[in-house]
Symmetry: C2
Subunit: 385 residues, 2 copies
């Protein structure tokens, strides 16, 4: 159901020929209203792709009527030509969707950095996509934005008379600065842009922003939330924010589950930190430790690598008060060895690490990561991506 689960939206996904293998590579999502409110969050990487620079400007207006997304090329580090190509894409979309303004067309791209897009294929592709727009097109749109994703990712939550739906892509270069990868969320709730913006920022802060598959921040991260108002229902803020968060959490979890080369999904929970910021710093340091990621791949409960990662942070803690559990077994107590590590069962894909800083009363923070595998190395060394 994806982005067309909410009333008021149509979508399409087609093969425009941007990818040399002929797979679908161009998606179009249109908000048919009556409202066209929107919010967006983007990568905090200072090297930003042309479509990110463009869409940041579009979102300042608080209105989006259409989103064009392509796989097969990131249009990042492509200079003035890249920005002109994004502009031309928005202009073309406005043209094929009668009555729209290019200034309300967001653009998102994903693929190899440093090459320009084949505009001679992308622009005709937009005409084809517009002709195929459908209230059942959400699934095809989700498929068209895949790169190294092995499955397409969609999620839908329906509450009293209104719906939040969404699609996501992302399998590598998957570590958020603010958000990561490409995500489009839609809702038929009748809400204005400032409310959408608040709900989206709150949701991404604790979902996409706490996914760290490989420590590499993208130049193209984009998460958009579009509201059509077509349900004619205006939900209360808390209920709406919870629904957005649920969809974001579901999509973020799907991203980790399909990360390049991964054999394990690692749930890192940091408890009893002095502050939320400390907990996030510690969780992210653990998530990015290559030696630990290798050990998890080898089903080795190597808690010493967890401690060596915690030790590189500036978080408040005393080394001799740290505790670590792996899959519920407290293998490290008071900074030293605890329960027998042979008790840890690591056969399953999900591995749970709990780091107890014993330093305060902050709410627990969860960071999701993946293991480091020979398949990851192969996927990112055998060809350019």
């Amino acid at each position: 159901m994806s982005v067309t689960a909410a009333k008021g939206f149509t979508a399409a996904g087609i093969a425009a020929g941007i990818k040399e293998n002929g797979n679908p590579d161009l998606a179009l999502v249109v908000n048919n209203g009556p409202r066209r409110a929107a919010a967006g969050v983007f990568t905090s990487n200072r090297v930003k792709a042309a479509p990110v620079l463009w869409s940041e400007q579009v979102l300042k207006g608080g209105a989006v009527t259409a989103v064009v997304l392509n796989s097969g090329g990131a249009n990042a580090c492509t200079g003035p030509q890249g920005f002109q190509d994004t502009h031309a894409t928005a202009e073309k979309a406005a043209e094929v969707l009668d009555g729209h303004s290019a200034g309300e067309v967001a653009v998102a791209s994903t693929g190899l950095i440093g090459v320009t897009l084949p505009m001679d294929k992308l622009l005709p592709g937009l005409e084809k996509a517009a002709a195929e727009l459908s209230a059942h097109g959400g699934e095809k749109a989700a498929i068209a934005i895949k790169t190294t994703d092995t499955v397409h990712k969609t999620s839908v939550v329906t509450r009293g008379g209104w719906t939040v739906g969404g699609m996501a892509k992302g399998a590598g270069m998957l570590a958020p600065g603010l958000a990561t990868m490409l995500v489009v969320l839609t809702t038929d709730a009748d809400l204005d842009a400032p409310v959408l913006d608040r709900a989206l920022r709150e949701a991404t802060r604790t979902t996409f922003d706490r996914v760290d598959s490989d420590g590499c921040m993208s130049t193209n991260d984009t998460v958009l939330l579009l509201a059509s108002g077509a349900s004619e229902v205006t939900p209360g803020y808390a209920e709406f924010a919870e629904a957005v968060r649920t969809v974001c959490d579901d999509l973020a979890r799907q991203l980790i589950g399909d990360a390049e080369g991964a054999s394990k999904d690692i749930r890192i929970e940091v408890v009893n930190a002095a502050s939320e910021a400390d907990a996030v710093e510690v969780g992210r340091s653990i998530a990015r430790n290559n030696l630990l990621k290798c050990a998890i791949h080898g089903e080795d409960p190597n808690w010493g690598r967890v401690l060596s990662a915690i030790g590189t942070t500036g978080a408040a803690f005393e080394p001799d008060r740290l505790n670590v559990a792996i899959n519920g077994v407290w293998v490290c107590r008071n900074g030293s060895f605890g329960e027998d590590r042979d008790l840890v069962d690591m056969r399953y894909r999900e591995v749970r690490i709990t780091a107890d800083l014993a330093a305060g009363t902050a709410e627990p923070v969860v960071i999701w990561a993946n293991d480091l595998t020979a398949d990851y190395v192969h996927e990112n060394s055998a060809y350019s991506s």
Copy 2:
């Protein structure tokens, strides 16, 4: 020649039975004077091994008469028992070396984190090592501190009447906070502890501290510099500091050349930064980017991954002024594609990346790193280390 190249030093390396495979695992280095001046730098990881905590105290006195080093166990995260074991090791060394004080015995350990050392083997081993002390024992000492190192690492520089020699171990968990791995340097120059300290800190700051094989900071990093004064020569500071730096640089380069699973040594040079700190931050960010490390392994000049790594830093730069060369080919100019990437020849082990920030006039900074390979994953997932 190693640590016994300088006059006034004896050393030994033996198999004490700490390693289950029977390989050499215990080294002893003794300064026979007449002077016993010393300096040391240690890991800035806040989770520090017991021998680091002990040796930091010893070095505050500015005098070291002997260094005990063991492989086969890091004695890190071992609680009060671990510290008692280090203390007992120093006491035993003082006992077997008549007339020495335990307070002048430095201890260094390397191996798996979180397990205590077999003291019933280590203490008798010290007696055996003391009996084998020799002015030709430097090579055996260097061999005894190996863990996953495939070769032992030594370096010697001789100037007018005096010498600086050294040995090093380190192949994984190889990213410095201040220094990394275990290193013992010796000199027969007649210098006091403050001069040694200054020369050692200056040397490590631009050598060991700019090696980043896998982004993982150790709990046991130790670099010691011992002076015997036996040459009866007091060199000028600049000449001595240059010799220390040369030995450190040589050993650091040997560490990168033998890093776990690596197939490439990556020399990352950051030029035209606004400050040295900016250059180091950018170089380290590039060095730690897993996607780039995979690309280099695949001999793919994927400069987009260099830019995405630079973009995550806080260094001064404008994205559209960045330039990147790989093995001398400027594949990225002004933040966009430059010379043809097919011109880049990456067949050899050494790969040179130049990142031009076009932001200032700071001196170039060089960071050494390795690629990320399936062999690295295997070596760090197939068994505990």
